[in-house]
């Protein structure tokens, strides 16, 4: 009962993981060379052939893939197997440009679901648990991934999908759900609603939550844990590489273990593409070692984080990544300054507001306008106009201190900011650049 799903590989000595990667990578590169003309051409242009890749140490010789490649190769250009061998697709929301369609063979799905099962076990899940999956089902990887993982662990799986919060709460209470899987913003929303209904943390049967698919802060984690009376675990993944479960947190809650028997992670300098040593902050790059249908090599995630091999007390040996500072898709450049929505969240939570906000960026006379809408809460409201203005000013000062640029804070009515129950609509950027 060690909270592992596949202990032998999850806790394997580093040498064993390295040996596995040394064995798999050259084979995978040869496979992609033979089956994905798009990537073969990139390798040829780069002056590298499969013969140059003898072990994982040669990975840096290979060319990168980026979102632009996925767009150029849409929809079938990176597919490595005939369609008759594919059993499924998943797709991204397409909010930051062209949709990505990822293809899966049955063995790809098995690997993905294994990773999700490992994440559920790491959060303390067993076949005794009732696991409610409130991620969206359908094209989004959240629902199907955790659903498959939950089956593999043997949990009683409650496939509520996202939305219809009253029904979510009914199932949590009536079926005594013990694990909740959804986006952190939806977990916060469910928590808020339960609180409004008069439920205290001890009245709520949940004991753990597995939350991912969007950036969230430590403050938000503490808030959700307090409201729902649970331990909240972060999970990471991306459709391009498979979906949630590429990395996940263990009971230590100090970074997410990357599943290195399936994926090699690198940190690079986002400007030069140079591989950075362990512990450096940079862009996360993934290579899948055993995927069949959609085997991406050196895919640039645009997520900024660091990796560590420090020993983890949970027993897992796989490298850990820090919570990404925000996907660079989420990152805004406002008046030349990098702004991550998670920084704004931190300021709000530190001042006692819920993380219900929306960033509105525009451009007037060649200057960026930067507004943050914040929902008023009962705790922050008084009958005194001057006092409310002063509290608004405190937020503006806090944002300025955090970001180094001035933002205009507008207080808006509760629940007036659109909460798409899959992913929160945090940014409206009307600049035409």
């Amino acid at each position: 009962m060690g909270n592992y799903y596949q202990e032998e590989i999850e806790c394997a000595p580093l040498e064993k993981i390295k040996a596995l990667q040394d064995d798999l990578l050259p084979k995978q590169v040869r496979y992609v060379w033979g089956n994905v003309p798009y990537y073969r051409k990139k390798m040829e242009e780069h002056g590298v052939t499969p013969d140059d890749i003898q072990s994982a140490a040669d990975l840096h010789k290979l060319p990168f893939l980026s979102k632009a490649d996925l767009k150029a190769a849409y929809p079938y250009g990176l597919l490595a197997v005939p369609l008759k061998d594919c059993v499924r697709i998943q797709s991204t929301s397409g909010t930051t440009g062209k949709r990505v369609i990822a293809f899966y063979t049955q063995s790809d799905l098995d690997i993905w679901e294994d990773c999700c099962a490992r994440a559920i076990c790491a959060a303390g899940g067993t076949n005794e648990d009732v696991c409610q999956v409130s991620y969206g089902y359908g094209l989004f990887t959240g629902g199907p991934g955790l659903d498959g993982g939950s089956h593999k662990v043997g949990c009683l799986t409650v496939p509520t999908s996202s939305g219809n919060t009253e029904r979510q709460i009914m199932f949590i209470l009536d079926l005594q759900a013990t694990i909740l899987c959804c986006t952190p913003s939806y977990a916060a929303y469910i928590g808020e609603t339960l609180k409004e209904m008069g439920y205290k943390p001890e009245d709520i049967p949940l004991k753990a939550g597995i939350f991912g698919a969007e950036a969230w802060s430590e403050e938000m984690r503490r808030d959700i844990e307090k409201t729902l009376g649970i331990k909240a675990y972060d999970i990471y993944g991306l459709t391009e590489i498979s979906g949630p479960g590429v990395a996940f947190e263990c009971s230590e809650q100090k970074g997410m273990h990357i599943q290195e028997d399936h994926f090699i992670a690198e940190i690079i300098d986002p400007n030069t593409g140079e591989v950075l040593p362990e512990g450096s902050q940079g862009e996360l790059v993934f290579t899948s070692l055993d995927k069949k249908a959609f085997p991406l090599i050196r895919y640039r995630t645009r997520d900024i984080c660091t990796l560590t091999r420090e020993k983890c007390s949970c027993g897992r040996t796989h490298v850990r990544m820090t919570k990404p500072k925000g996907r660079s898709d989420d990152m805004l450049i406002i008046r030349g300054v990098n702004v991550f929505p998670s920084q704004i969240e931190t300021v709000l939570m530190n001042n006692g507001y819920a993380a219900n906000y929306q960033i509105i960026v525009g451009r007037v006379n060649n200057t960026d306008t930067f507004e943050v809408k914040v929902e008023m809460t009962p705790d922050m409201f008084t009958d005194n106009v001057g006092e409310v203005q002063a509290r608004r000013k405190v937020l503006e000062d806090g944002l300025r201190a955090m970001l180094g640029i001035k933002a205009k804070v507008t207080l808006v009515a509760p629940k007036s900011i659109a909460r798409s129950e899959g992913k929160a609509v945090r940014v409206i950027d009307t600049r035409k650049i």
Partner: protein, 141 residues
């Protein structure tokens, strides 16, 4: 006795005040007095209603942020000079008024005051023979 004023946060845009009155109307809450303080982005509605408990519950259910604020209400003759006399008592007792509003009844006029220390102000004014109205008295007006 101070009475409870219901203070409500509203965004300063078309239709928000009407949304508030719609909710109150649907639930049969009667507004006895109302004033509005505004900035360019938001406003605060301050009102006395016939049923404070009902009003706060339905506002919460309808996603309004509302808070209860103690205010002092004094009845005066609806004639020239009476407000002046009342305010003289405030000055004499050194009570600072944050804001005030008023409504006129059939026989008398009613002045609603927000002060920073309600209890102390009430005691000081009471010494001058001024008695503030109770919730019941206002409902009966």
């Amino acid at each position: 006795m101070s009475v409870n004023q219901v203070s409500v946060f509203l965004e300063n845009k078309a239709g928000t005040l009407n949304k508030l009155t719609e909710v109150l109307a649907t639930n049969n809450v009667n507004i006895r007095a109302l004033s509005l303080a505004e900035t360019s982005e938001f406003g605060i509605v301050r009102m006395l209603v016939n049923d404070v408990f009902e009003a706060t519950n339905i506002l919460k259910e309808n996603n309004f942020v509302a808070t209860l604020t103690p205010v002092l209400v004094y009845a005066i003759e609806d004639k020239a000079g009476y407000l002046n006399n009342l305010l003289k008592s405030f000055s004499a007792a050194d009570v600072n008024i944050e804001y005030m509003y008023a409504f006129a009844g059939r026989e008398r006029a009613y002045m609603i005051f927000r002060v920073n220390d309600t209890k102390q102000a009430e005691a000081l004014l009471n010494r001058n023979g001024l008695k503030s109205l109770t919730q019941e008295e206002i409902s009966a007006v």
